[in-house]
Amino acid sequence: MELALQQKLVARLATDREFREKFFADPVRVAASEGLTVAAEGLAQLHQEQLRQFARLLRTRRLAQVSLRLPLTRKALGPRFVDCFRNYAVNPPPPGRRPSEDAIAFAEHLEDHAAAPGLEPAWALSLVRYEAARIEAEWHNRRLVVRCLPHAVRRLAELLTAGTVPEGSQRRPTLAVWWRASAASRLKHWLG
């Protein structure tokens, strides 16, 4: 019964670019090092381009899930959102990670790389922080989440939702608060 090992190998190949390239360099040895015996030679015939395409398909699906959770960030960054996600998704999501956690981790990646070209305009980072905080408040069972943001988040959200490109610096301090009285109570939000 080697199917469990075969699936483990394929899952890793589809999500870990470094491992995939190592495998293609010497498939039989890598498959054997993963514990496969009888099936090692068979799996060595896995089609390189098919595996790469499958890896891209998985990334496309992850991107769609993360986009749904960061709609303002996606609108703010436009095509750069996809480029940034491609850089972020080089590594697989940690085991059991839900799309909401993937979205927060991507937001953190954007913050970490905020200094890099492509994250202009500056107000985009406020939207990244705002949407990540909302996900945290909704999905991580937090009783209180507070963010002080340097840009006019409400105005930016209205403009982007209407399909208008915000102009100017959009600087205006914003306080965003989410709270719930208990784990079972409904989330409240204040933005001012």
């Binding site: 699906r61 991107l63 409904r186």
Partner: protein, 286 residues
């Protein structure tokens, strides 16, 4: 009565839902205003497991207005390491809450060796894989009494060492497990375009009397290949295949999937209406 006839009769007693779409949060308000244009909605069940109260409120609101069919992606019926019992339990609770006519998962695996793929990977077309998925389906069906239907997957990846072709593999899984088929015509169209083969001939090799629901969507082209991104309008090739499938199979519902690059809702509702008309034309519903 033979087991095959018994199962076919069981599936024939499922309700005819008509044409619907896969629910996405951004069009919630507009969808509620246009509920008469949607016969049912499909939700991604995984998104409602461990959900906060607001998300469950959303589900309750939707359930007041629509028949909801839960569709799962991460139960991982094809995992050789077995099912995640906690996940199965939570999925069961959600299904109980919704009381749907059926629920669905994929003929594939999403979990292996601690890696979560988030999208179903294909199984090798082998006897061992048939046995593995059948065993897991039996476990799932023991836990959840609501009928389970299984979806054919889309994947550019083909395992080496196949002992049968894909239609034969799907047929074995359906017959061994006693499940209905969720026929994704876009997956067939995409696989045929990328890997070669005639999609109509592929359809003919499937046990079409098992089809309960159809999925359709539009992908995009990249480097001369189709990507099943569900991010574009439905192409004519998929419409033709859908029509062929509805003409031949006792489809009880058709669902449009759209994951990314969401257009204004009326554009999707136009596609839902076109699917409804196909169903009507072939007397699948009134």
């Amino acid at each position: 009565m033979g087991r095959k006839t018994e199962i076919t009769n069981l599936l024939a007693n499922l309700p005819r839902l008509g044409a619907g779409l896969s629910y996405r949060r951004p069009f919630r308000e507009e969808l509620l205003q246009k509920q008469s244009e949607v016969d049912f909605i499909e939700i991604i069940g995984d998104g409602y497991l461990d959900a906060p109260p607001e998300k469950l409120d959303e589900l309750a609101l939707l359930a007041e207005h629509f028949t909801i069919v839960p569709h799962f992606t991460s139960l991982s019926l094809g995992s050789a390491e077995g099912l995640d019992e906690r996940y199965l339990e939570k999925a069961g609770l959600l299904i109980k809450r919704l009381a749907p006519p059926w629920w669905s998962e994929h003929i594939g695996f999403t979990r292996a060796g601690g890696v979560s793929l988030g999208h179903p990977a294909p199984l090798p077309f082998t006897r061992e894989a048939v046995d593995v998925i059948t065993r897991n389906i039996i476990t799932a069906r023991r836990a959840i009494a609501t009928p389970l239907i299984l979806e054919n997957v889309c994947s550019p990846l083909v395992w080496p060492g196949a002992e049968m072709d894909e239609p034969a593999f799907i047929t074995e899984v359906l017959f061994n497990s006693g499940c209905g088929l969720l026929l994704d015509v876009t997956n067939i169209h995409t696989n045929a375009t990328n890997l070669g083969g005639d999609p109509a001939a592929f359809l003919d090799q499937l046990p079409l009397d098992r089809v309960v629901q159809a999925h359709f969507s539009g992908g995009h082209e990249s480097k001369g290949r189709l990507v099943d991104s569900r991010a574009q309008p439905v192409p004519e090739g998929v419409w033709k295949l859908l029509e062929l499938a509805v003409a031949r199979a006792p489809v009880r519902s058709i669902c449009l999937e759209r994951d990314d690059n969401l257009p204004p809702l009326p554009e999707m509702l136009w596609e839902v209406e076109r699917a409804r008309a196909i169903g009507r034309q072939h007397r699948r519903w009134n």
